[in-house]
C-alpha cells in the first residue's frame, strides 16, 4: 500500500491537507477507541498525482477563462472526469478494498464513498446523503469510479462559489473516504449531557428505526432515553410511535427510501438496554478522550454499534451553570433544606 491509501484507523493526527477533514475526524474517533465502520482514505496526494502539474494548470486555466459560475462547473467537471488514479494508486485502492472485503467477510462489500475535502467546511458537508456521498457501492471498479466522482465535487457550484469568496484555498485538493456501509437497524444521536438542563451527569440518547437521516433532520419524533452517565441507570424512556424509517432501497439496488414501519414494531423501543449501555460507554469515552461534552451520530448495524461522527456540544458547554443554593456551608444548606421541605 502506498502512502496515497491509508486505513481510517491510521488517519488520526494526519494533517487535513492530506486526508481531509472527514477522514481525520473518523481517525480521531477510532483513536479514542470507538468503533467506526472500517474503511480507508484515498489521500489528496492521489488526486494531485492523478491530475499532475499539467492537468492542474489546465483546470486553473479553464476556470479563469469561463465567464459564468455554471460554465466553470461544467468545464472543470469535464476535465476531472477524465482523470484516473496512477497505476500504483489504483492497485493500492483495489488492494485496500479487497482487504476490507476480507475483514468484513463479504465479497464485494457495500461501501459508502464520500469526499473528504482538505478545506471542507465541516459544519454541513459531512452528513451522509450529501451530494458528494455515494452509498451502497459494490465492487472495485465501481469504487474507483466513485473515487473519481468525488474528486469532481471539488468543482461543484457551492465549492467554486466558496472559492471565489476566498473562503477556501486557491489550490484545493480532494481526499476520499471509502467505508463499510452500515445497514442500520436503528440509528440516532446522543449528547454527553442532558440537553434539557445542561446536567453533565447524564447521557441523552435519541433513536429511530433505520438510518438516522430523518432524525438528524428533525423530521420525526424519535425514542428518547435519559441515562445516568456515571452509574448507567436508565432514568427515563419516552418511546415514540415510529411510523416510518429510512432504509436501503433494495429494489433500486442503490440509495435510500422512506418506508412505513409495520404496526407491531412502531411502538417497540428502537434500542435494547445493552445498546443503551454501549452508547453510554461511547459517550464517556469520547468526552474523556476529547476533553469536552460531545454530540455523536451512530448507527446499529449487523456488527453492532458504529460511530459515524462526533462533534463538540456547543449550547450548554458555553453557558455558566446555576450555582445558587449549591455553594453554601453545610450547616446553612441543612437549615435551608429542612425549612424548604415543609414549605
Amino acid at each position: 500500500v502506498t502512502a496515497h491509501v491509508l486505513p481510517l484507523d491510521d488517519c488520526a493526527g494526519v494533517p487535513r491537507a492530506s486526508v481531509g477533514g472527514k477522514a481525520a475526524g473518523l481517525g480521531s474517533i477510532a483513536g479514542c477507541g470507538l468503533p467506526i465502520p472500517p474503511g480507508f482514505a484515498v489521500t489528496t496526494g492521489a488526486y494531485r498525482e492523478a491530475a499532475g502539474e499539467e492537468a492542474l494548470a489546465a483546470i486553473d486555466r479553464v476556470l479563469a477563462a469561463a465567464t459564468s459560475l455554471a460554465e466553470r462547473v461544467a468545464a472543470a467537471a469535464k476535465l476531472v472526469e477524465q482523470l484516473w488514479p496512477s497505476t500504483p494508486t489504483e492497485d493500492a485502492i483495489r488492494e485496500a478494498y479487497a482487504a476490507l472485503c476480507e475483514r468484513c467477510g463479504t465479497e464485494n462489500i457495500a461501501v459508502a464513498i464520500r469526499s473528504s475535502a482538505a478545506s471542507e467546511d465541516t459544519e454541513g458537508a459531512s452528513f451522509a446523503g450529501e451530494y458528494d456521498s455515494y452509498l451502497w457501492i459494490r465492487g472495485a471498479d465501481d469504487v474507483l469510479a466513485a473515487v473519481v466522482r468525488c474528486w469532481s465535487s471539488l468543482f461543484t457550484e457551492r465549492a467554486l462559489s466558496y472559492r471565489e469568496q476566498g473562503r477556501v484555498d486557491t489550490q484545493p485538493a480532494m481526499a476520499v473516504v471509502v467505508q463499510q456501509m452500515v445497514d442500520a437497524r436503528a440509528a440516532g444521536v446522543l449528547f454527553s449531557l442532558n440537553p434539557e438542563n445542561g446536567d453533565r451527569s447524564k447521557v441523552a440518547i435519541e433513536s429511530c428505526w433505520g438510518l438516522g437521516e430523518a432524525l438528524v433532520g428533525g423530521e420525526i419524533t424519535p425514542d428518547n432515553f435519559l441515562l445516568d452517565k456515571i452509574t448507567g441507570e436508565i432514568l427515563r424512556r419516552r418511546l415514540a410511535t415510529k411510523a416510518t424509517e429510512v432504509v436501503f432501497d433494495r429494489a433500486a439496488g442503490r440509495g435510500v427510501v422512506t418506508q412505513p414501519v409495520e404496526p407491531e414494531r412502531q411502538e417497540l423501543p428502537s434500542l435494547t438496554d445493552e445498546e443503551l449501555e454501549t452508547l453510554r460507554g461511547h459517550a464517556r469515552t469520547a468526552e474523556r478522550e476529547l476533553g469536552f461534552p460531545v454530540d455523536m451520530e451512530w448507527a446499529v448495524g449487523a456488527g453492532g454499534i458504529a460511530v459515524l461522527q462526533v462533534r463538540p456540544e456547543t449550547v450548554w458547554s458555553r453557558r455558566p451553570r446555576e450555582t445558587q443554593a449549591l455553594t453554601g456551608s453545610a450547616i446553612d444548606s441543612i437549615v435551608s433544606s429542612l425549612v424548604h421541605e415543609t414549605n
Binding site: 442532558n194 453533565r200 451527569s201 456515571i230 432514568l235 453545610a330 421541605e341
Partner: protein, 610 residues
Amino acid sequence: MADRFPSPFEIETPPGAEGWQQMYSYYHVLAEDRRDIDDRRFWFQDQLHHGDVLYPYDEIQCECWWPALGAFNTRIFAMPPAFGVDQRVINGYLYISPIPVDDPATIPQRAELYKRRAGYYYDNWNELYERWKVKTVVGLDRIKAIEFAPLPALEDEEVVFSARGYSTSYQMVHDFGVLVDTMYETYQYHFEFLNIGYAAYLTYFAFCKQAFPDISDQSIARMVGGLAVDLYRPDDELKRLAKSAVELGVADKIVAAGDAEAVWSALSLDGDAGKQWIADYEQTSDPWFLVSLDPGHPGGYHNYGTWQDDPTVPVSSIQGYIRRLQAGESIDRPTAEVLAERDRIASEYRSVLDEEQQKGFDEILALARLVFVYIEEHVLYIEHWLWATFWKKSRELAAALHAMDVFDREDDMFFLNRHEVAQLLYDVHAGWSVGSRWRGKSYWGPIVEERRRIYETLKQWSPPPALGVPPEEVTEPFTVMLWGITTERVKAWLAADEDGGGDGNTLTGAAASPGTVEGLARVVRAVSELGDVQQGEILVCPATSPAWAPIFPTIAAVVSDVGGMMSHTAIVCREYGLPAVVGTGYACATIQTGQRLRVDGGSGTVTILD
C-alpha cells in the same frame, strides 16, 4: 378516591378484646378529652418498629423513644420545621403522628438556634460520638451487672458481714428501677445524634437532587454507604470463625456435627484445636453475637433472644461459610470493590460540577459520610446490645418471679406494664420482708389470664396502615426518611383502602438497590425460618435486621413490607449488590413461596410472573 382515612375514633374493638385499653398506660391510648387534637391528625401504623401487638410490658419500648425523639427535635436542637412524633396505642398496635411546629412564624428563630446547637455537634461529631460510645457502654454494663434471682428464705451471711444494710428484696425493687431508668437514659442518647444525622443526610440528598437532576435515590445512597462499620462486624466474625475452623483443622467436624450442641460436644472431645476454637467463639460471642433475633426492627419486643441465647443462626452460618470455603469460594464481602465504586461514583459526579459547587458538594458529602457511620452503627449499640440485654434481664426477672410462685407462668409478667411490675415488686418486697404473703397472683392471676386472651384476639386483627387526615403532601423529613411514608405511598393506601388491594400482580415500593432479577419467592417471617431459604431464591420478608445477615450471600434479591432508602435491607443489599424493593406494604400477604417473581430494584417494582 377518598381524601382521608377513617377516624381513629371509628376503629372498633374486635369482639372479645373489650377492655384492651387497661393493658396500657392511660396516656398512651385514645381518649375523649384529647379527641379535639387526635381527630385532626394523620396517624400511621408503625410497622417499621412495632408491627405486632404490644405486650403490656413491651409498651416501654415505645415509651422510651416517644419522648426521646420528641425532646431532641422540639426542645434541645430546635429542629426548625418539626416537633416530635406522637404515639397512640389502638387495639394494641402502635400508631404514630409527626407533629409539625405549632407556629410556623417561629421557624426562622428555630433555624438560628438549630445552626448554633446542631452545628456544635456537626463540628465536633467524632469527638462527641466517641464520648457517646463510652456512656452507652457504661449503660450497657450497668444493665449487664444486674442479676435477678428468686428471693432466698434467709439472707446470706454476706449481707450481714459486708454490713450492706438493705435486704435482697429491696435490691430487687431497686434494680428494676435501675434497669428501667438506664434503658430510658440510653434511649435518650439514641436520639442525641440520630435526628441531626438524618437532617444532614437529607440535605446531602436534596443537594444531589438539585445538582444532578433526575439522579436516582440509590446513586445518592451509594456515594455514602459501603463503609466498614461495626454493624457488619457480627457477620464478619462468623466468617473469621469459619476461616479459623479451616486453619485449625476442625472444619469437617463442625460441618458433620449438625446442630450447635453437637458441634460443642464434638469439639470439646477434639483436643486443643477444638477447645481453642470454642474459646474463640465464646470470646467473640460477647458482644458480637448480641444480635437480636427479632425479624422486624431489632429490640422491639421482649420475646426475642439473641444469637447468644440460640446459636442456631451463627453456627449454621459458620457451617455454610465453611462449605463455601471448602468449595474454593470467597466468602468476603466485596468491601474494597464497593468502596472503590463508591469513590468512583462520587468523584465522577463531583467532576461535572463547577468549582464553587464542588466545594458545597465536598462539604455536604463529607458530613453525610460522617453522620452515616452513626446512622448505621447505632442500631448495633442500642437496638441490639442495649435492648437485647434489657429484655434478657426482664426475662430473668419474670423467671425469678415465676420460681417464687408469684406467677403461674414464666411469661406472665409481660402482661403487666412497667408501672404495674414496679407495683408488684413492692407487693412482693413487703410480703417477703415481713414473712407474710404477697397478693401477687391472687390479684394479678385473673387479670393476666384475661389479658392473654385479649392479646391473642388482637393478634388476629389487621391494623389499617393509616388513619385520620393525611397532609396533602408528605414533606416532614423524618416521616419520609425513616418510615418511607411519601405522598405516593399515602395515595396508594387510599386507593387500596377503596378497592381492597389494587393490581394483584404488581407491588411497588422504594427502589432501594439497583438491578433486575427473576427467581422463586421464599416468604420468611422470622429468623428461625431462614434455614428454608435455597440458593438463588428471592427473599420476601416483613423487614430485615442484622440477625438476617448470613442470608444475604445466598439470595438473589429482597422484597420487604416496610422500610425506606435507609432501612437495614436497603443498606445491606447495596453492600452486597443485590436488587431490593422495600416498603411494598403487602408483599408477605400477597406473595407465596414458590411463585416466580421479577424484582426491579431500579424502578421499585415487583411482578408476580405466575
